[in-house]
Assembly symmetry: D2
């Protein structure tokens, strides 16, 4: 089973449109998701640790992401979780934690946003 999860965080890198192949646009960015909770004793919000994800988008979503998202924007990301091991050049083992985005949106808890341009015809 593949896991589709939804996370909230902020866009930590610039986005740029690339070609996966001649037909397929793609983009990727780093997403930082920091746990926050209200500490009743201190009467303030406190932050916990951060989950980092490598978000990838494809086709229409990739083009709209590049046209819409700026570094620092707070977003909601729904995507398929991919955890992969790889071997670095120094032969140590790294782990890639990726989200293949199903969809992404500006998080309206923190800001107002407006639709610029509808890219899909029909419903």
């Amino acid at each position: 089973m593949s896991e589709i999860i939804t996370v909230r965080g902020f866009v930590a890198t610039d986005t740029k449109l690339k070609k996966l192949d001649s037909d397929t646009d793609t983009t990727d960015f780093r997403l930082a998701c920091t746990e926050r909770w209200f500490d009743r004793e201190k009467n303030q919000w406190v932050e916990g640790q951060t989950n980092w994800f490598s978000v990838s988008a494809y086709r229409d979503l990739a083009r709209n992401v590049v046209a819409s998202l700026k570094k620092g924007d707070k977003v909601i990301v729904m995507g398929r979780l991919k955890i992969r091991s790889y071997t670095r050049q120094d032969s140590s083992i790294g782990t890639y934690v990726g989200l293949d985005a199903v969809t992404i949106g500006h998080d309206l808890t923190w800001a107002t946003s407006t639709v610029l341009h509808k890219t899909y015809q029909g419903r």
Copy 2:
């Protein structure tokens, strides 16, 4: 346990800011979520049935929703599912299916959007 779920759909009603009490802004709208899948035999997208939700937002999110969303906008909604029975005036039983929104965003699969105004200071 309360269920926090994430759904995608379109805003089917106009939004308007109301007062829950003197300190708390709120708004609500109807959200239509229609199942879609790609039919390989017909080689086209087909639509299934629609789940309807009554979405409620509060405080900052309510104000940003009213400033950001228009009827017809496609959105992602993360919220707490509330299913409640009630008795109508004619004494028949109805069921309210609500989502108390945790957050909402424009769905970038279908359109580009831009942040208008950050309403939260700090991160």
Copy 3:
């Protein structure tokens, strides 16, 4: 889009295997999901309101559900949310809130359980 959600609750009715058609076994039961949280001031768990779902299972899962679940068992249910309006005989409108189960399991927060019989060969 169809919403696959995961909820926790208890089985509120007996289960019985039925035939959807000559090839397809099915079963259904009512699931009660009650919000619970720890009240720090009272220093005790309190219960909120209850979401009720009509859970349906098919094929292998249906057979295993009937062989495994008893009324009162606490379970985890992952399923596709279906909200449908229907007209009652008295012509009032009712709402069906269903979960087409993807999978179900005994909730190990509340009890121990053991596998009785593996019904699937291979992985």
Copy 4:
């Protein structure tokens, strides 16, 4: 925000009860979640890549997990996703992908199970 996600997989290691401190029981195991889909052209199920998680459970859930789960059991796990970098002894960077379990259950798609012992009094 912290991400509570639900995944399905199989228990890949033995479980053993440990003490986090004098009051708190804990256990952990490795969970393998493999994407599967039905390939219509080949007319068979095919498997994709595997997401590995380190699942931790605490208190009642830890005790019930150790009493209930065997290596190889197929389970549903709902938990809080934790992605953490750490430095290995050889100074290379590793990544821990953990799930702090909210709850776990035997997956009834693959087997029948029965409740052995209710460990929680009241509802």
